[in-house]
Symmetry: D2
Subunit: 281 residues, 4 copies
């Protein structure tokens, strides 16, 4: 039976690094979780159990810690590029190395109103993410954010939709809109101010969500993507993934109570899921 | 600024259905979680807030329950096809409807050694999955399984791998091998005995994992995929995703104890991740 | 300001052990996650930073692996007793050592219908648990199970309940009843056939849930506990924690469809939670 | 066989409420997840299936939404007291009603540097918690926080600990210390400025963690509790639960690299767990 190995891919996931940068007056931290995935001339490992081209995933892990010690870098994207380039250069059998990185939003603790030199706290539930693909023909860098929960209590409607036999939803002129923003975007080239770009895109997403007069989550998604593309020329395209975290108007009529958009029931499932990719043309 | 909506997609996720089939002598259950995603001529919703083509996700949800009542079906794949075909036929604005379904492994309770007519229990931690894509040009059906945890304590090695400056791993002639099988495969056509095929592939994956003389997880992955393709002509290709759930030999030397492959430390992170797609040619 | 350290407690959690027992014809496995917690004369560590009585949690972890190598045991409870007794005997500063153990339901893989000598799979989503408390004045052993999901489609009602101003629930003569069984029970003494007792109690709980003619989940809870106490004299008391995993009758009337207990909506939240402790008097 | 129902308890969990307070110039939100648990004269429900005293858990849920509409309150604790008092007053069969509440840290979105009137974002991964117990003999109010992740890169040591046969840990004069703060405390009486007290205790915990010269996590735990009791006379006692989120010094010697407290390996399991209760005497 003729069989083709149409895709191969292997690596180490959930490699957790903390690097402490010790300055005279303060410490900085770089904390990240790294996933490494390699593809290449590896078919013999699969078909024959020939491991002569299989750099151990344990070595991939060690590489993360060793390069973190040897090299200087400031942003997730820079560390990802550095890891990918190193592994591709050292391993002719690899065609591509993919490095995915995720980081918590750490902030410096304030004590009595002043920044503490070496204490930090997690200051959000979202995660900053980066995906760096280093291949023989080129490099692609994407950044993103996930689990950024936002909610607005006005300027959101959903009306004028089609109805079929199974439609019971009533049009809403004024509803609560909440979503857990997931976004990732492609950068043009590798000469980007990654830290500033990330913070700027994050802020743009949140501010546009807040300020938009929404006719649907699709409508708001587009406005968010458009605002990012307008403000950040280094962003080539952006994909948004917006789960609709429904807050349903509670029916209080059986209790003789009105409910003029005051009391809502939060629900986790089922949930609407709206996606879209906006790209410069 | 010229912008293209390069991708649109929306739907309802985590719609949880239980259908009880009431026979004279017993009940059967069909329990499933459904995710529906539609793409099509929907740009105006994004760019203009024009909802006239946006069938509400609430209606998508209602469709799941209503069709479950009206129609007969026995397998996940059949229900997915039925939902996808209905939504595509009724909504000319859609180009494709994707239906993803997931189900627990329920089994009938035995009381005093005899099958109970209407009581059931969850009999595994894995999930059966199906992805049905119904488009204007054709239909694709994939099935899969995830989180099927298996472990073997012999017939697994990892040796003869390349070493670089960062390699510290020692070759292992005899190690514990454990993985949480994730697999999904494409069926040829829609005239498949889906229930029998799923059970057969699941059993084939487990038996091959058990019986294989493994030189690496890549090697075992290929053997598993090859066995499925050999035994199931209705399977066109199979993708396997095998996280290496490492059990590391405990170092007991500091306590004056030997450890001849008896005591292992289970670790969740970091973990090796091995993937591959096998396809008939 | 006079302050009392009213409680102290420290230890190591999530210590993951796999022990492989290598017999001539087959391997057996003992896989467990251990949490160790010690209390005692440890106030100086808290108040003064005096560590002279603080056996490191890293040592507690090492003790798990070392004793697993040195000693023989067959059941969770035996290993817990062994660990607790060792730590209490070696550390006069401890008053009590608590050992909590949790294990997956592993079963042996069958290949071509025959038990495989060294391959295993996870055969359920539930967890077996044990809590052993070894103190200077005595020993207590509890066993338990959690996340054992069961469902019945008949012989369950909820009627004749009180109604107040906020009551909208309709009485149900015939409903779906599902719960994720959580149970833990106290054994009399330490001369118990722990493995047989656990399997027996688990089976008794499931069979009683299935066979009971339920007027409420409280009613079924009591029947389950009573059946265990009746069948297992070694069980002194049993606590049951039964979340009501609601399946709500879908309202299909808007679609012109009846629904004679066939189509249900699964919901995760909110959920009823019913608890009770039954004790021999 | 004589059996006693030694404990009964039932209620509704995960009731998710959003209340929007619509002021002329802005909206405020009160979002909370509520768990209600009732105990009382309910034995007949368990033993006989007599539901005449079992107020449905569905009614408990409705009560949350209806009272949220009818009544005014500003803090978690006030809403919990109101719910508990209502349910106890209306249901003579209950002896005690327990209300547990949890809330996300929402903050108001800023747009162009100015607070937005009706948009909010999740501004932390921690949760504020309250437990209100309303009984016939009295009322107890506890507040708490969980999952507040903090980390410091200096002023933490662990030395001078005892060593036994299984000890391999090296003393550390300078280590990374991280924990996910879990704390809950009892208030004296019900005339407390709950919002200000919560924010104050949270800040005190973080600042003390940061500023303390730590000889162990036990040592820091005590300092944190002591600081809270010193600064907040309305707090009677505080329980702290501090998992040690270990960051282990990476061993880079095999790669010819030193590591002067710069590169650490984050680990999730096993983890040390340190607890203590401090109480005024």
């Amino acid at each position: 039976m003729p069989i083709e190995l149409a895709l191969n891919r292997y690596g180490k996931s959930s490699v957790r690094l903390l690097k402490v940068l010790r300055h005279a007056d303060r410490h900085d931290i770089f904390e990240v979780t790294v996933d490494l995935a390699c593809t290449g001339d590896l078919a013999a490992a699969y078909t024959e159990g020939d491991n002569r081209q299989v750099l151990p995933t344990d070595t991939l892990k060690n590489t993360v810690y060793a390069l973190a010690r040897e090299r200087s870098f400031a942003e997730l994207e820079e560390f990802g590029l550095l890891l990918g380039r190193h592994l591709l250069a050292e391993n002719p059998q690899f065609h591509q190395v993919e490095v995915a990185l995720a980081a918590r939003p750490w902030s410096r603790v304030e004590v009595a109103g002043r920044p503490h030199p070496h204490a930090f706290m997690e200051s959000g539930a979202s995660r900053r993410r980066t995906l760096v693909q280093v291949g023989r023909e080129g490099i692609a860098v994407r950044a993103g954010i996930e689990d950024l929960l936002v909610l607005k209590t006005a300027d959101s409607a959903f009306e004028d939709f089609p109805r079929d036999r199974f439609t019971t939803l009533q049009p809403a002129r004024d509803r609560v809109l909440a979503t857990r923003i997931g976004a990732d975007w492609a950068y043009a080239g590798v000469e980007v101010e990654y830290g500033a770009a990330f913070s700027g895109v994050e802020r743009q997403l949140v501010e546009t969500f807040a300020a938009h007069d929404s006719r649907s989550l699709q409508h708001t998604l587009y406005a968010m993507g458009e605002a990012v593309l307008a403000a950040f020329p280094e962003v080539l395209e952006i994909h948004l993934r917006l789960p609709n975290q429904h807050y349903l108007l509670a029916n209080l009529a059986p209790f003789g109570l009105d409910n003029d958009n005051q009391i809502f029931v939060g629900t986790a499932e089922p949930y609407g899921l709206i996606e879209g990719t906006l790209r410069r043309t």
